[in-house]
């Protein structure tokens, strides 16, 4: 094994993860690596002869710069946690399902399915790529669940295990609709085939054959009537019980009437009945339902706070630390929080220096320092050393949990009530009855013997299926189109809501800014190379994010190991130390200059060398590059924009320059304030869209008419929202809005066409001329036209917009 050496080349791609090796490059085995983590993964694979991993796709790994704590998975030794996670066990093997968000390419698949080559006691593993899950079977007598999790972590696939996994199993896929669809399709096609002789004029001598075909149709229609349509019966019955008629009610009516009349016709020998129309309705409607269900299986939008929480924490009792499951934490327990761990319950800091990043809860981008004895709230992430806290509120009672359980967040809007399709469906049923009654009155006067025929044909042909299909198919297609562009919608109703939006509110931290890197600008006397180097050395000794940012900024290419003597850190003030004989100080105005100076808004760090103040570092959040362009486009489209920020007002000028003076920009917004702000705008009659990212926006996202959560990576967890948008697709934001508006036009067009079909069908029915053949032609023809309009036109529009 060659000794890893440090090279000075820049822009070298890491062999493992493919990222630029910007800080230092480690060379081992003639390959370049960006960090020790990546190198270690390579070595593990190299040792077992599994380097095929790298030949299947280029740089398949994920970055390993952030080290994972050694005993992070200690909680998996706990019997109780184990039994909650595993899916099957007997005396020789255990099956467990892990969620591995890092999975992304065919190399991952290959590696994960060859786990048994890395550890012989892993019996097998099978990957589900769509769900990013691996089913792993291992011999629990030889290898523990913890070791399996650590094995996965060591090759770069850290299993994501959350508190939620303990409480319930993920619901299995509901396949019953697909079975129903298969059965309906089979029966529909065969009934159509057996009906052809009837339509084409079967020889009157072939009475036996005619009878056979008719009875075959009855037999084939039974599974459709009793099995495939049960979906609609249940939904219609439920809505009827709640005292209103949903769109399934007329479908059920049509199916039942068509079946009863056809049965009567065949048994009495008066006709062939409408079996093909009836099964056709069910078949096409089921296609719509299945498409609806299928669109968003892989993304979960229903999230609660438990998904964010770790599964277990370290509890200290009698000087012994043990891993315990989160629900078992009770009052007065002392828990140990490690670097980068989330604080699960409110508590008092009893040991250590807390530097807590609350950006997730409040949106404030700069971490807060806490002294011993102060209260720390759940939801913050500890940065730096380990701390101990004494729990003063149980997990279910903590601030974060309460925030989530606020009444605004609980009440779910009733989607069915809002859609104009469902509004129409109520009238549809009544219009249908009116037509049927007036037609029967007319025929009662002219020829009473035809009343039964007319009423039933009115009900059969006026099936709302083309109306409903126009909506389901167009929306479903747009949903898939948007999904392909990483704009994932909760449901079809959201498209309609987006089209109606006339006000957009953005969150700042994490939404308009990347939240990861901070831009630094330095004013003051020019720093020469060696001085910069010294500052970098000093700054790298602190874990404070500002120090880290300065260290990165000041870092020189030729890293020498300078020593810091007498390093001291005053929490909340600054750091100092002697580097190569110079006393350097970095910190607040008070710490460096011994004077209260500078605005409180600006977070600035001053630097002094041997008592002489050189200058100050200003920090600004790093805005996403596309932000100015998007704002301009949105304003051009006529959307008023507001910004809500949990952060301080330090960047007011920059934002005003970006958006113009007339844009309301609010700072220091707590989660409740954001929610209230949205309510205020809604009170003026606006339909508001909220774009946010963190838990601090959760309330506002839910209160807004449309809530959009922005994420860097769809595998990570986002707050409950109507839409999840991949951050890289932000430049196309305005196009998504336009596409949703176009969708509205399309739905209406398809809708008008289907109304026309209904009018044609009804006129046949009312005049008493509806033959089974006319019905059999009208039904599929209308459905197919709708399909053509919705798929063709929506694909054309999105293609013209240059969307995928």
């Amino acid at each position: 094994m060659s000794d890893p050496s440090v090279s000075q080349k820049s822009k070298v791609q890491c062999y493992h993860c493919g990222e630029d090796c910007d800080e230092k490059t480690i060379v081992a085995h003639d390959k370049h690596f960006c960090c020790d983590g990546c190198k270690m993964v390579f070595e593990i694979l190299n040792k077992t002869g599994m380097c095929d991993y790298y030949s299947i796709s280029d740089n398949p790994g994920t970055n390993q710069r952030i080290k994972i704590r050694e005993d992070k998975f200690a909680f998996l030794d706990e019997q109780k946690i184990q039994s909650a996670l595993l899916s099957f066990t007997n005396d020789s093997e255990t099956h467990v399902n892990f969620y591995l968000p890092q999975m992304h390419c065919s190399s991952c698949l290959w590696l994960l399915e060859n786990l048994h080559r890395l550890n012989e006691y892993v019996i097998s593993s099978k990957v589900n790529f769509e769900r990013k899950e691996a089913d792993i079977v291992f011999d629990h007598r030889r290898v523990s669940m913890r070791q399996v999790a650590e094995l996965l972590t060591s090759i770069g696939y850290e299993p994501y295990i959350s508190f939620k996994d303990l409480k319930q199993q993920r619901p299995s896929l509901n396949m019953s609709k697909i079975y129903k669809l298969g059965v309906a399709g089979f029966c529909f096609a065969n009934i159509m085939l057996f009906s052809f002789p009837e339509y084409l004029g079967i020889d009157s001598q072939e009475l036996f054959l005619q009878g056979t075909f008719r009875y075959m149709n009855i037999i084939l229609s039974l599974p459709v009537f009793f099995y495939s349509s049960s979906e609609f019966y249940i939904s219609a019955w439920k809505s009827l019980k709640h005292g209103f008629l949903n769109i399934d009610a007329p479908i059920v009516l049509a199916v039942v009437v068509a079946f009863a009349r056809s049965l009567y016709e065949v048994l009495s020998g008066t006709g062939a009945g409408y079996f093909d129309s009836m099964t056709g309705i069910v078949f096409f409607m089921l296609i719509g339902r299945v498409l609806q269900d299928k669109t968003y299986q892989q993304l979960s939008f229903e999230r609660d706070y438990t998904a964010y929480f770790p599964i277990a924490v370290t509890r200290i009792k009698n000087n012994q630390s043990t891993s315990v499951a989160l629900p078992d934490i009770v009052l007065d327990d002392t828990i140990l929080i490690h670097h980068q761990e989330l604080i699960p319950a409110d508590g008092i800091l009893t040991r250590g220096k807390a530097l807590i990043d609350y950006s997730f809860v409040t949106g404030e981008s700069i971490p807060v320092e806490k002294e011993m004895g102060e209260i720390v709230y759940a939801g913050g992430k500890q940065i730096g050393s380990n701390i101990e806290i004494l729990v003063i509120k149980e997990v279910s009672q903590s601030y974060l949990t309460k925030l989530w359980n606020r009444s605004e967040l609980q009440s779910d809007r009733n989607d069915n009530e809002r859609s104009f399709v469902h509004l129409l469906s109520r009238y549809f049923t009544w219009i249908l009855f009116t037509i049927a009654i007036s037609a029967s009155i007319y025929w009662w006067a002219i020829d009473p013997s035809k009343i039964g025929h007319v009423i039933t044909s009115v009900l059969i042909v006026a099936c709302p299926c083309s109306l409903l299909l126009s909506n389901t198919f167009t929306n479903g297609n747009i949903l898939r189109r948007l999904g392909r562009n990483q704009f994932y919608l909760r449901n079809a109703q959201t498209i309609e809501d987006i089209a109606n939006i006339n006000y957009i509110v953005f969150d700042k931290t994490g939404t308009l800014t990347t939240g990861r890197y901070q831009d630094i600008n330095y004013d003051g006397e020019v720093l020469n190379e060696s001085l910069k180097q010294k500052i970098a050395v000093l700054a790298s000794h602190s874990t404070h994010p500002m120090s880290k940012a300065i260290a990165l900024w000041a870092k020189q290419a030729n890293t020498q190991n300078n020593q810091v003597v007498d390093f001291g850190e005053t929490p909340g003030r600054g750091i100092q130390g002697i580097v190569e004989g110079d006393l350097l100080k970095l910190g607040s105005a008070f710490f460096v200059k011994k004077a209260e100076q500078g605005s409180a808004l600006d977070s600035a760090v001053f630097v002094s060398v041997n008592g002489k103040v050189y200058g100050r570092f200003g920090f600004r959040n790093h805005y996403r590059e596309q932000v100015p362009a998007i704002m301009k486009r949105l304003r051009k489209l006529g959307y008023p924009i507001s910004i809500l920020s949990g952060d301080n007002a330090g960047e007011k000028d920059y934002l005003e320059q970006l958006l113009g003076k007339d844009t309301p920009i609010l700072f220091h917004q707590k989660p409740e304030d954001k929610l209230e702000a949205i309510k205020m705008i809604q009170a003026t009659g606006k339909k508001v869209m909220m774009v946010g990212d963190g838990l601090n926006d959760a309330g506002a996202l839910k209160q807004a008419d449309v809530g959009i959560a922005i994420t860097e990576n769809t595998a990570t967890f986002t707050p409950a929202s109507d839409v999840i948008l991949e951050a890289s697709m932000l430049p196309k934001f305005h196009q998504f809005l336009l596409l949703c508006k176009a969708n509205k036009v399309l739905v209406w067009t398809a809708f008008v066409v289907s109304i026309l079909y209904n009018i044609v069908g009804e006129s046949f029915a009312v005049s008493g001329h509806l033959s089974p053949m006319v019905a059999a032609i009208l039904m599929p023809a209308s459905s197919l036209t709708i399909l053509l309009i919705s798929f063709g036109a929506s694909n054309l529009i999105s293609w013209k917009m240059g969307l995928k």
Binding site: D52, I56, F88, N90, S92, E93, H95, S106, L109, W110, E113, N114, H116, R117, I123, S124, S125, K126, V127, N128, F129, E130, R131, D135, I136, V137, L173, M175, I178, Y179, G182, V183, F186, A189, N190, L193, F194, E206, F208, L209, T212, M216
Partner: protein, 60 residues
């Protein structure tokens, strides 16, 4: 005439066979993950042991 009846029965039983095949493929989860099988088939070495499903059956 009777030959039509035979044809009819033959055609419907073939169609029924396909229906059963379809239901079976749904039931065994062939549509649960449409992304990994196309990748898996391109990889040279097949996992040494069978999938977890058959492992379950063996163990039961």
């Amino acid at each position: 005439m009777s030959v039509i009846i035979i044809l009819l029965l033959a055609s419907i039983s073939i169609a029924a066979l396909f229906l059963v095949a379809f239901l079976w493929s749904v039931k065994t989860g062939q549509y649960n993950d449409e992304m990994s099988p196309p990748m898996r088939i391109l990889l040279d070495s097949v996992p040494a042991k069978e999938s977890s499903e058959s492992a379950t059956i063996e163990s039961l």
